[in-house]
Amino acid sequence: MKLKKLALAATLASFIVGASASFAQTTLRIFTGGQQRPDVMRKIADEYEKRTPGVKIAVEVGGATSEAQQQYLNTVLTSKDSALDVVLIDVIRPAQWAAAGWAEPLDSYLGADKAKVMSQYMKAYSDANTVNGKVISLPYFADSQFLYYRKDLLAKYKRAVPKTWDELMETSQIIMQGEKNPNLRGFETAGAPIEGTVCTFLVPLWGEGSDMTKNGKLNLDTPEARQPFQLLGRLKQAGVMSPNVGEIVTDRIRINMQAGNLIFAQTWGYVWNRAQNDADSKVKGNIGVTTLPSSKTGKSATCIGGWQLAVSAFSKNKAEAVKFVRYLSSPEVSKQQAIAASHLPVFPSVYKDKEVLAANPWFEFAGPIVETAKSRPVSPRYQEVSDAIRSNMNAYLSGTKTTDVALADMKKRLEPVFK
């Protein structure tokens, strides 16, 4: 009898094993950039494969920059190619992906869970991934711009951390005069015609309590819209900002900060770890992060960054892909990424996690700043919006256009987009 049972169990077991072996193996292809730590993604995928028999994950690594990745993706998706199932996309892209029909809307897969799932994320991220009420993608990790400052220099001159742009300028001038170091500048932000320069324009505008659009219409005929130009013009005039701001790209800011040549800098989250850990950093232990300044009456806001997970509309394994995406966009994976890759979490709860804070003590300050992050103008034609802003900002900062001309040209290019 016992033997019979055993035999039965054995056949059953072999049946199950056989079944799972003959069960069609699904391979999901996920596309990620070279800088979004594909190695960490691979580890997470290994764990997922262990938990989900029958699913294999292939991690495909694209170009290094957001731009190179999108060039590849544009071609593949324009051709409605089914080669990719899940794609990691920049936070500026969900609207474009939704409009182009490249991303499978996730609402029906989330079903009744939708409200619950979306409410776990920081509000900025649930907003950024929802386009016209539809969930287009789920956040993978966060990023935003911060105001970096030199704690040691502020302490030496007994200055408080600036809350407004005026304070920042005043403090910079005092310290620069005191230090008498010709290489030391007060403030730096991106000014070359690159994506970061869009934030150079938007952050002071938001700091005025204004925005580029109002109810979907262009809103640049306001006195506030002139402020970003005036402010940066003044900073450059006073020598607080370097005269070559028109060629400053993102990483140059980090380099200058790390070399001890800057008092304040507006840039992304990756700088903190480099400034703290790089062997050649001259500012170890002397860097602080805080919210970006605003005007006296306005409210501080920062530019949102980070990477989102979208399911390709041309995927042949959408249901499995959505399951994988939900796993990747979970607090558990967020924590894993925060520890292994210092990626900023998208869940408020993970910022308070002890292990996460042990690995990244600065997340304690970063969390509240990321909460103030705002989305850059949402439009399916975002690339045109970005181009209009960055090229005119760059022209202004290089001194080839005045405020009036730059603003008028910017409006002229934006009008057809927001008609």
């Binding site: 070359a192 022209a395 900062l397």
Partner: protein, 296 residues
């Protein structure tokens, strides 16, 4: 008898051209046809609900009215007018120098090859570094001589100068390679004979080198002109079109419209216009080859 020989020669000719024809049909014909058709439609991938309606010449009219297109076109023409003769002069000079009787030929050959072998994007990035306001060696030199550093890449005129220098440096290598090959195939006996006749170096250059080199010069010029019209990587890497759009070229604007703005209709129309510009710019050379062909 004679006719049949002509015919077989003709057949052989077509046979020899067949591989080229097949490759072109496979790789070029379909994409180009697609491009031309797209240029008469509105195709905006960012707004697929617009459909892909036929719009006639609307995209071309739009280009006519687009200030930025004209700016890009003028910049492109400026780069052609400056860098094509520039790289011909430098390339011819380098080729003539490299053709001198060196004991060791390879360092010279290598020097001719290096700029050509350096991928375009990296050439652009390296020169961007050279012209960097603070860390570039150009400004290091400028300030060593007691002048103020110049904003090479953020001033519209200086940026154009910097870009032209880079393009000339990079493309003179291609010129020199083609011309050096031309120089090498000029029989030495011609110069020896001229020497006997007492002709000076300049006369030898004018009477032997230049005429013998003409076919090579024209080939080099045609392709240099075509690549100059398509100037993309170097300004893209050095200034990204800045400050503002002041260094943007036609190819950069096409790239932007097609792969960035995903406006395939307009991008295709611009590409077709670029094709027409190329035809106009090279028609002079083609007429020359036609005339020389008529001579033999």
């Amino acid at each position: 008898m004679k006719q049949s020989k002509e015919l077989s020669e003709r057949t052989l000719g077509w046979l020899l051209l067949a591989p080229v024809g097949i490759l072109l049909a496979l790789i070029v014909l379909y994409p180009v046809a697609k491009l031309l058709i797209s240029s008469f439609h509105t195709i905006r991938l960012t707004e697929p609900w617009l459909g892909e309606p036929f719009v006639g010449f609307a995209n071309y009219v739009r280009a006519w009215e687009d200030e930025r297109f004209w700016g890009a076109l003028w910049n492109t023409i400026l780069y052609i007018v400056i860098t094509v003769p520039g790289s011909l002069a430098l390339g011819l000079g380098l080729a003539m120098l490299a053709n001198l009787p060196f004991k060791r030929k390879w360092p010279v050959r290598l020097a001719l090859l290096l700029p050509w072998a350096l991928p375009l994007v990296f050439a652009g990035l390296i020169f961007r570094w050279f012209f960097d306001f603070k860390l570039g060696f150009v400004n290091d030199f400028v300030s060593r001589f007691g002048f103020d550093p110049l904003p090479w890449l953020t001033d519209p005129i200086l940026a154009k100068i910097a870009i032209c220098i880079t393009i000339i440096w990079k493309s003179s290598s291609f010129m020199a390679l083609v011309l050096l090959a031309g120089l090498q195939s000029i029989p030495k006996s011609l110069y020896e004979a001229a020497e006997v006749d007492g002709a000076g170096k300049w006369l030898q250059f004018k009477e032997i080198t230049l005429p013998m080199l003409m076919p090579a010069i024209f080939v080099a010029l045609i392709f240099r002109t075509i690549t100059a019209i398509q100037t993309f990587d170097i300004p893209y890497a050095m200034t990204g079109g800045g400050p503002g759009d002041s260094t943007e070229t036609l190819a950069m604007y096409i790239h932007k419209n097609t792969l960035d703005f995903l406006d395939f209709g307009y991008g295709s129309a611009l590409a077709a216009i670029m094709f027409i510009v190329s035809i106009i710019a090279t028609s002079g050379y083609l007429r020359y080859t036609q005339r020389s062909a008529g001579r033999d």
